[in-house]
C-alpha cells in the first residue's frame, strides 16, 4: 500500500537576513525527518511553537521546497509533482482569516470550490450539507466578517473538507477556539476520517489533549527533529513504570536552590508558579522516591497543600524526552 505521506531524511533550512548581507544566518527548521503515514490515519504532530510543525506542513502542501531529503504525498514527490498533489489535498490553519469579509459564508465557500473545479450545483449541495453538520447552516447567508472567531473557524474547517481531499492538513485547527467549539471541531474531524478508510489527516497541535483524544499516532517534534512516533497509548505506556506526581506547595521563593533534581530516583521535575502557590510536576522512578521528596520538603520548610498521583499524559512524555515542559521549551526558544 502506498503511504499517504512519506518523508525521507527531510530537512529545511531558512536563511535569515540581517541588516548587512554578511550577517545572513541559518535556521534549521527541520532536521532529518522520517515519517510514514498510512491512508486512513489521523496522524498528529505534537510540539511547541517553533518546533517545525508548520514548516513540515508547508513542504507537504507544496508551499515550500525542502532543503534536503524527500517528501511524498499520495505517492507523489512534492518537488516534482506539485500539481498532482494539489489535486488531492487541502489545508486549514487555525486562526486563518481567508476569504472575503464582504461575501457571505456560502459565497466564500463556493468561491473556494471553484478553484478545485467542483461544479456549482454539487458545490452548493455540499456547502449546505457540511454547514448543517457543523451547525452553521443558519449563518449561511451572513457576511463572513460578521462571524465570531469560533464560527469563522468552523467555516474554514468546512472549506478544507468541501473538496473531499485525499489528504487533509490541519495546522492547529482549534487555535483560539473556546472549549465547546474545539470539542465540536474535534468531533467532526474524527468522524470525517472514520467515515472513509482512504481519508488521511495530518494534524499539528500543541494541545496535548487534542493529540491524545484525536490521533491514531503522534509524532513528538522539537527543534525540527522527530523525537518519538507511536500511538498516544504506547507513548504514555513508556512512562507507566514510573510514578508521576503533582504536588501543590507553599510558594517556593528561589526554588532553583532547592536540590530536588539531585534526589535519587528523581527523573524529571517541572516547577510552575501559580497564584499563591507553586506546582511541582514530578516523574519519579517509583513511589518509593516520594518519601525522599517529602523529607526534603519538610527540611526546607515547604508546606504541602495538595498531593496527587496521576496517570501519565503526553505532556509527561514530552518532558521525559526534552527535559522541559512544552511551555518552558517555547520560552527557551524565544
Amino acid at each position: 500500500m502506498i503511504n499517504a505521506i512519506q518523508t525521507e531524511n527531510l530537512g529545511r533550512i531558512y536563511k535569515i537576513r540581517g541588516n548587512k548581507k554578511s550577517e545572513e544566518k541559518q535556521l534549521i527548521a527541520l532536521n532529518d525527518v522520517n515519517l510514514e503515514v498510512q491512508p486512513g490515519e489521523l496522524f498528529g504532530l505534537l510540539g511547541p511553537n517553533g518546533a517545525g510543525k508548520t514548516t513540515l506542513i508547508k513542504i507537504l502542501t507544496t508551499l515550500l521546497a525542502p532543503t534536503t531529503g524527500k517528501a511524498f504525498v499520495a505517492g507523489f514527490d512534492v518537488s516534482r509533482d506539485a500539481n498532482k498533489i494539489r489535486q488531492r489535498i487541502n489545508m486549514v490553519s487555525g486562526g486563518e482569516t481567508s476569504g472575503y469579509g464582504l461575501l457571505t459564508v456560502r459565497e466564500n465557500l463556493w468561491m473556494f470550490t471553484q478553484f478545485y473545479g467542483i461544479p456549482s450545483k454539487l458545490a452548493n449541495q455540499r456547502i449546505k450539507e457540511l454547514l448543517e453538520i457543523v451547525g452553521l447552516a443558519d449563518r449561511m447567508n451572513y457576511k463572513s466578517s460578521d462571524l465570531s472567531t469560533g464560527l469563522r473557524q468552523k467555516m474554514n474547517i468546512v472549506r478544507g473538507f468541501m473538496t473531499d481531499p485525499q489528504v487533509l492538513f490541519l495546522d492547529e485547527p482549534t487555535l483560539g477556539l473556546d472549549v465547546g467549539a474545539s470539542r465540536e471541531v474535534r468531533h467532526f474531524i474524527r468522524g470525517w476520517v472514520d467515515h472513509d478508510p482512504t481519508r488521511t489527516i495530518l494534524l499539528t497541535t500543541h494541545y496535548m489533549v487534542e493529540a491524545d483524544e484525536l490521533c491514531d499516532r503522534v509524532a513528538i517534534i522539537n527543534k525540527g527533529r522527530v523525537l518519538a512516533i507511536d500511538t498516544p497509548e504506547n507513548l504514555k505506556r513508556s512512562l507507566q513504570r514510573e510514578a508521576i506526581y503533582r504536588i501543590e506547595v507553599s510558594p517556593l521563593n528561589g526554588a532553583g536552590s532547592i536540590p530536588f533534581e539531585n534526589l535519587s530516583g528523581m527523573h524529571k521535575i517541572v516547577h510552575t508558579e501559580q497564584d499563591g502557590f507553586s506546582v511541582l510536576e514530578m516523574i519519579l522512578e517509583s513511589d518509593d522516591t516520594l518519601s525522599s521528596v517529602i523529607n526534603l520538603m519538610t527540611k526546607e520548610n515547604i508546606h504541602i497543600l495538595n498531593l496527587q498521583k496521576r496517570e501519565p499524559t503526553l505532556e509527561d512524555v514530552f518532558v521525559q524526552l526534552v527535559g522541559r515542559s512544552m511551555e518552558e521549551e517555547e520560552q527557551v526558544s524565544e
Binding site: T62, A65, G75, D77, M91, T97, G99, M111, Q114, Q166
Partner: protein, 282 residues
C-alpha cells in the same frame, strides 16, 4: 510511486477548471464590492469633484468646449486606474496578508486564472463606475459625444483595458516581491499618472518625448485615441494617429500579459524556495 486512491467527487480539470477559477475569483469583485457602499463616495463623488474643478478652470479661461468632454472622459477613466492600482497591483500583497495567497497556491488551479479573475471582476466593477461618471458628467456639463468610428473605439477601449489590466497583473507580482509596503508604492503611483497620462488635458501638450515615455501607461494612448474618436475636434488635439496608437496598445497588451505570466512564475518559484511570501500575520 503512483497514487491509487482517487477522490470521490467529480472535479473539473483543464479549461473548465480555468474558467471556474476565473469566475470564482471575479465574483468577490463583481458582487462583493458593490455591497460596500463607500465606493459611491470614493469612486464616484471624489472623481466628480476633480472633474468639476477642471471644468470650472477651463470655462474660466475660455478654453474650447471640447476640453470639458476631455475632462469627463479622463475622469471616467480614473475609475480603471484606481482599480488597477489599489485592487490589482496591491492585491497579491493583501491576499498574502489575509492568508488567501497560500490557499490559492495549493489549489490545483492556475495562478494566472486567479489574476485574470481579479482583473475581469475589477474591470466589470470599474466599468459600472466609469459609465455613471460619464453619464453624470455629460448631464451636468452638457457634453456631446460624436463617435466617428465605433469599431475603432471598441478596439481602442478593449486593447486599453487588456494592456492596463495586464500591467496590473504584472505589477501585482512585482509589488509583492519588492515590498511589504505595497500601498506606499500605490500611493506613489496614483497622482503622477493623472498628470503624465493626461487625464484632464490633451497629452500632446506634454511634449513628444515625455508623452512617448508616458505611453508605457496604457491609459495615456487609450485616452488620447478615445478622445480623437468621440469628439469632432479630437483628432487635431491628438498625440499620434489612432491606428498608430492601436498598434502600440496591442504591443503593450502582449508585453504586459507575457510579463505578468513570467513574473507570476518567478514569484511562485521564489515563494516555494524561500517560503517567505506565503507567510501571513498569524
Amino acid at each position: 510511486m503512483n497514487a491509487v486512491i482517487q477522490t470521490k467527487i467529480k472535479k473539473n480539470t483543464g479549461w473548465k477548471l480555468y474558467l471556474q477559477t476565473v469566475i470564482g475569483r471575479a465574483y468577490p469583485r463583481v458582487i462583493g464590492q458593490q455591497r460596500e457602499k463607500s465606493w459611491i463616495f470614493f469612486e464616484l463623488f471624489m472623481p466628480m469633484l476633480a472633474i468639476c474643478a477642471y471644468v470650472f478652470v477651463y470655462r474660466a479661461i475660455g478654453a474650447p468646449e471640447e476640453y470639458i468632454g476631455f475632462v469627463v472622459v479622463g475622469g471616467a477613466m480614473t475609475a480603471f486606474w484606481l482599480n488597477v492600482l489599489w485592487s490589482m497591483s496591491s492585491q497579491l500583497y493583501w491576499e498574502k496578508e489575509q492568508g488567501n495567497l497560500s490557499l490559492y497556491i495549493i489549489a490545483p488551479n492556475s495562478m494566472m486564472a486567479i489574476l485574470l479573475g481579479m482583473a475581469l471582476g475589477g474591470l466589470f466593477a470599474s466599468l459600472l463606475r466609469a459609465i455613471v461618471i460619464i453619464l453624470l458628467g455629460s448631464l451636468l456639463f452638457n457634453v456631446t459625444f460624436t463617435v466617428s468610428n465605433f469599431l475603432q473605439l471598441f478596439i481602442v477601449f478593449t486593447l486599453t483595458m487588456i494592456a492596463l489590466y495586464g500591467m496590473g497583473m504584472m505589477t501585482s507580482s512585482m509589488f509583492l516581491l519588492l515590498s511589504r509596503e505595497a500601498w506606499h508604492l500605490a500611493s506613489l503611483a496614483q497622482e503622477p499618472v493623472y498628470l503624465i497620462s493626461g487625464f484632464y488635458f490633451p497629452i500632446k501638450y506634454l511634449g513628444f518625448w515625455l508623452a512617448i515615455g508616458a505611453s508605457i501607461i496604457p491609459l495615456t494612448l487609450g485616452l488620447d485615441a478615445m478622445r480623437q474618436l468621440v469628439f469632432p475636434s479630437g483628432a487635431t488635439l491628438g498625440f499620434l494617429t489612432v491606428p498608430v496608437e492601436i498598434a502600440i496598445l496591442l504591443m503593450l497588451s502582449v508585453l504586459f500579459l507575457i510579463g505578468a505570466y513570467l513574473l507570476l512564475r518567478y514569484m511562485e518559484k521564489l515563494a516555494i524556495q524561500e517560503g517567505r511570501l506565503t507567510e501571513n500575520r498569524r
